[in-house]
């Protein structure tokens, strides 16, 4: 039976008195590539901040592996976060560390591997993302796409069960973006990792997404939940249809 990895219940996202998302209910199944989509400024990244524990929910809660995360004690939260990897929009690499040191950091902190095994695992993780031989490079010395891949290598360091991606395609050329999509699919299919991806790139959404939610900026609620291809075939409302077709279908009808 497929388990729910993340379940959100009446989740409200807000910054102080400013409500970003009124209420959200959804479930991310094990081995999903779950897309959080919506227009610019709808609160996708804020939702990700809540799910990664950076922003407490204003109301409601969410469960990770069945544990009520906001109510868990600090030790439990740490245990959960050890099983989670995060790829930030710009990679989030520490600029004063080489790529190898960046990837090694979570292994040194949270695993009991020997230093030589950690060095070997760092080589493996960098090779998996196509950065073999770039161990001694600093983030400032590599391109934006390479930074994202190095960030992914770090996110995968501890063999996480869940990996969050914040706008993975942002700032990448189409080929790099497609390669990153393929890499994400490989990780999902071969390692069984559940991926939660915040994006508004339609190519990525249709290429990798197995499940999704749509955040409507106007109503500040989730107005769609399901496989992106199914949502395109049977859009539940006009905003979802416009988003998934870049508004072109409406334009064609108008012409």
């Amino acid at each position: 039976m497929i388990k729910d990895k993340i379940v959100a219940r009446h989740l409200q996202v807000a910054y102080g008195p400013k409500v970003i998302i009124q209420t959200a209910d959804f479930a991310v199944k094990e081995n999903d590539i779950f897309i959080i989509m919506g227009g610019s400024g709808c609160g996708k990244s804020s939702m990700l901040r809540v799910l990664t524990g950076l922003l407490p929910p204003a109301q409601g809660t969410f469960f990770v592996n069945g544990i009520d995360y906001p109510k868990a004690d600090d030790d439990t939260k740490l245990e959960i976060m050890k099983k989670v990897g995060i790829l930030y929009q710009s990679g989030g690499l520490f600029s004063s560390m080489t790529l190898a040191e960046n990837v090694a950091l979570p292994l040194q902190k949270y695993s009991d591997y020997s230093p030589s095994t950690i060095a070997d695992l760092v080589n493996l993780k960098l090779s998996l993302v196509g950065l073999s031989g770039f161990n001694d490079y600093y983030p400032a010395e590599i391109s934006g796409g390479m930074k994202k891949r190095a960030g992914l290598a770090r996110a995968l360091a501890l063999d996480p069960q869940i990996v969050y991606f914040d706008e993975p395609s942002a700032g990448l050329d189409p080929i790099s973006s497609a390669r990153l999509d393929d890499l994400m699919k490989d990780i999902n299919q071969n390692l069984g990792t559940t991926l939660v991806v915040v994006t508004h790139e339609l190519d990525s959404i249709f290429n990798i997404g197995t499940n999704s939610i749509f955040i409507d900026a106007a109503t500040k609620t989730l107005t769609a939940h399901g496989n992106p291809h199914d949502l395109l075939k049977n859009p539940p409302n006009e905003n979802v249809f416009n988003f998934l077709t870049r508004g072109r279908e409406n334009a064609k009808t108008a012409q």
Binding site: S96, Y113, N123, L124, L128, L131, S132, A140, Q189
Partner: protein, 370 residues
Amino acid sequence: MTQLINFSINNNTLTLSLGGAFVHFEQTDQLYNTANSAPIKKIIVTSDNSLKNWDSSLLLILFKLKNIADTRKIDFQTQNLPDGLSRMLLLATAVKPHHDTPLNHHDPLLDRIGGYWLNLYNVFMKGFDFAIDNISALLKFVRGKSVTRKVDFLFALEDCGPKALGIVSLISFMVGLILAFVGAIQLKTFGAQVYVASLVTIGMIRIMGAIMVGIIMAGRTGASFAATLGTMQVNEEIDALKTMGIPISDFLVLPRLAAMIIAMPILTMLADFMGMLGGGFVGVLLLGIPASEYWKYSWQAWSMSSFWVGIFHGFVFAFIISLCGCYYGINSGRNADGVGVATTKAVVSAIVWMIVATGIITFIFERLGI
């Protein structure tokens, strides 16, 4: 379930058999040493159906064996491995390791020494040009012909002036207090404690007030200028200004430079006063000098020339702090480290140049008899 791992060599072939669960497993070097040194022509990795649960630690074993096989140019085969594991191994070995092409060009020693000094000269000249550009921009600003935004200037003035009053007052008071204490210990031996008032007054108004304000403002405001402009460099805001044809000196440097020029002499006056107050606190309350006596000696020691020397120092330090802060901020690296380095350089160079300037000013005024 634990891991099952066996290897054997038959017919020049190293066969590795895997089974069970491989989670956080750490392989000893024996397998790799054998693969590296045994007279083999092939490595075969095989698994039985019991191999179910695995993580990167198993993938690492395969990855290392594959690399050894590639290095030794021997055959590597996998049999009956889980699909995901085989595909991850393919992914990990798909891209050949990157190798930097070493530069075969080595400069002779003399060239390198010459290059170092030439570079130092260029850096100095770049800084000098920056200072000249901004001083001429300041003259344009005074004539009202600059594109400086008034609101930026007012923000900078608030930051350099009112917001710095507290720290400048506190530190100057403490410096006056310490000066009086240290002076009193020496003057007591001659029975001349009352001259503590003269010592504190001359010390504070002529140089100490300005130096203390300079050091506080270099650490507080100069660092802030460098960090702000450095972050603007990281966010490409400075590139945007350049491509829009807006002079950086007018838009970013001048508001800060003008604000410092106005704030520093006033802060120096405040520091002079607070230092004298600190000295008076020690003299009157702790050394028992009558208040009227203390102020009489203070007033006797007061001279307008010393006062103006102090204010002039403050004026010069304003240029040094703001130009160092802005120069290093604008020329910052484009990452977090770069901003940190720029901030450090801004503060250190401002303090060094203030000390150099103090030496030069003191020498000139000494020669002029001021």
